[in-house]
């Protein structure tokens, strides 16, 4: 009740101790397209729906899953343009780290710096929080890792997680299906099945995107043909 009177300014706390703008940002995320990530024993997979506004859109030009470094990839739920800004800043930070230490940036450090950027935008004047939650998947010396970063700047490490529309169903499904000793291929199958749960329409290699990183430490986005192969295996 009193909250709405405090929703005009990002940098003012409401009497209940919340920053209402961040809550609204999380709502924006919650109405975005579903994305999820699963950490397997030997790699990580992230996936998202790729629902395009019209059949006239050239789907090969749209890429929601992007690389931050050669061994770290990211997917988002929420406002696409906001995620592009974050990816750009994170790529620069990763390269600055490499320039200084001649060592590839560890996943935790990159996540921490990305989260710091998102937090900055919750405490500065004249800006708004980012309307995206990111799922960062990477493989480094500490093995496979999966992190979620929220508009508030908080980050969590997950074994498996989902964001966006249909998040509660997806998470319940993942909770049932997840095992600690899953291999990467099993994880991809589970990811596809989870997306299928809430998918409206016919799922195919053209309307979902999957990115994987294995022990070879090379993050890559699967081609539609490869996704169709996995889909066939799942049927």
């Amino acid at each position: 009740m009193g909250d709405s009177q405090y929703s005009f300014s990002l940098t003012t706390f409401s009497p209940t101790g919340k920053l209402v703008q961040i809550e609204h940002a999380l709502t924006a995320v919650g109405s975005g397209q579903t994305s999820l990530g699963i950490k397997a024993a030997n790699g990580v997979v992230i996936a998202t729906e790729k629902k395009l506004p019209s059949i006239l859109v050239d789907e090969t030009s749209v890429q929601k899953i992007q690389l931050m470094t050669t061994n770290i990839g990211v997917v988002y739920s929420g406002m696409g343009p906001d995620s592009r800004v974050l990816v750009r800043k994170s790529r620069k930070q990763a390269q600055q780290y490499f320039r200084l230490y001649k060592e590839p940036i560890p996943v935790t450090q990159l996540v921490r710096e990305t989260a710091a950027v998102m937090q900055e935008f919750t405490q500065s004047g004249g800006v708004r929080p980012f309307g995206v939650s990111l799922l960062v998947a990477g493989y480094d010396d500490n093995g496979p890792q999966l992190y979620q970063v929220d508009p508030s700047g908080s980050y969590f490490s997950w074994k498996a997680s989902a964001m966006g529309k249909n998040v509660s169903n997806a998470k319940t499904f993942l909770e049932k299906r997840y095992t600690d000793d899953m291999e990467l291929d099993d994880a991809v199958h589970t990811a596809i099945l989870t997306l299928k749960e809430g998918f409206q329409g016919q799922i195919s290699g053209k309307n979902i995107e999957i990115g994987i990183v294995g022990a070879d430490r090379k993050f890559r986005v699967l081609t539609p043909a490869e996704i169709d192969d996995y889909l066939a295996e799942v049927e």
Binding site: R99, L100, Y101, K102, E103, P106, Q109, R112
Partner: protein, 213 residues
């Protein structure tokens, strides 16, 4: 006299079998006057990483303070020690930051890297790295040190022999340099522990050792 010769210094590092040794002289001078005979030029960054800084003593101390600062922050953020190769890249970057008003010091970095493989390198005052598999030298006595190390060095020496070799190389080189000397400080780092020896210069060139705890 050049700024690098103001205080006088001699530094050397050598690679042995699963160990390394880093040695320095102990003289601190102001031009030709000796002001201290127990000056420390080798500093510990962590158990498996040491850096020796030759050249202008004030710059060596400041560089060391900056590096310790950076390393402590790194340890807190990344919850691990820096690898020697990473540390060398950091030193190089910090030195190059001052490209047009440099620190007048030349570092010698020695450490045990992944799988405890010994790593040594040196760089000039602007951060140009020079990696080596056998030995690196620095300081006013560097020309003599190059000669002494080149002739005395053998690959894959055990720790005892490595200690003898680097001590003799250092002591005989500083004898030919009036700006460095007054004994030597040798640190021998093996997988398990670090031995630190203080060498007292002796007329007959027999190093007399006092072991540091």
């Amino acid at each position: 006299m050049s700024i690098f010769e103001y205080n006088g210094s001699a530094l050397a590092a050598m690679v042995g079998k699963n160990c390394f040794a880093i040695a320095s002289d102990r003289r601190l001078g102001v031009n030709l006057q000796t002001v201290a005979t127990d000056f420390q030029r080798i500093f510990k960054i962590h158990d498996k990483l040491y850096i020796g800084l030759s050249g202008l003593a004030t710059d060596a101390q400041t560089m060391y303070q900056r590096l310790v600062f950076r390393h402590k922050l790194y340890q807190l953020r990344e919850e691990r020690d820096m690898k020697p190769q990473t540390f060398a890249s950091l030193v190089s970057a910090l030195l190059y930051e001052k490209r047009f008003g440099p620190y007048f010091c030349q570092p010698v970095i020695a450490g045990l890297g992944d799988d405890d493989v010994p790593f040594i390198c040196t760089m000039d005052c602007l951060g140009a790295k020079e990696l080596a598999k056998d030995f690196v030298v620095s300081g006013t006595a560097s020309e003599s040190l190059y000669g002494a190390c080149e002739s005395m060095y053998k690959p894959n020496m055990e720790s005892e022999e490595l200690f003898e070799t680097i001590s003799q190389a250092l002591l005989s080189s500083v004898d030919r340099d009036c700006l460095s000397g007054w004994g030597g400080h040798v640190l021998l780092v093996l997988l398990v522990f670090t031995l630190s020896h203080i060498l007292c210069q002796f007329q007959g060139h027999q190093p007399k050792c006092r072991k540091e705890p």
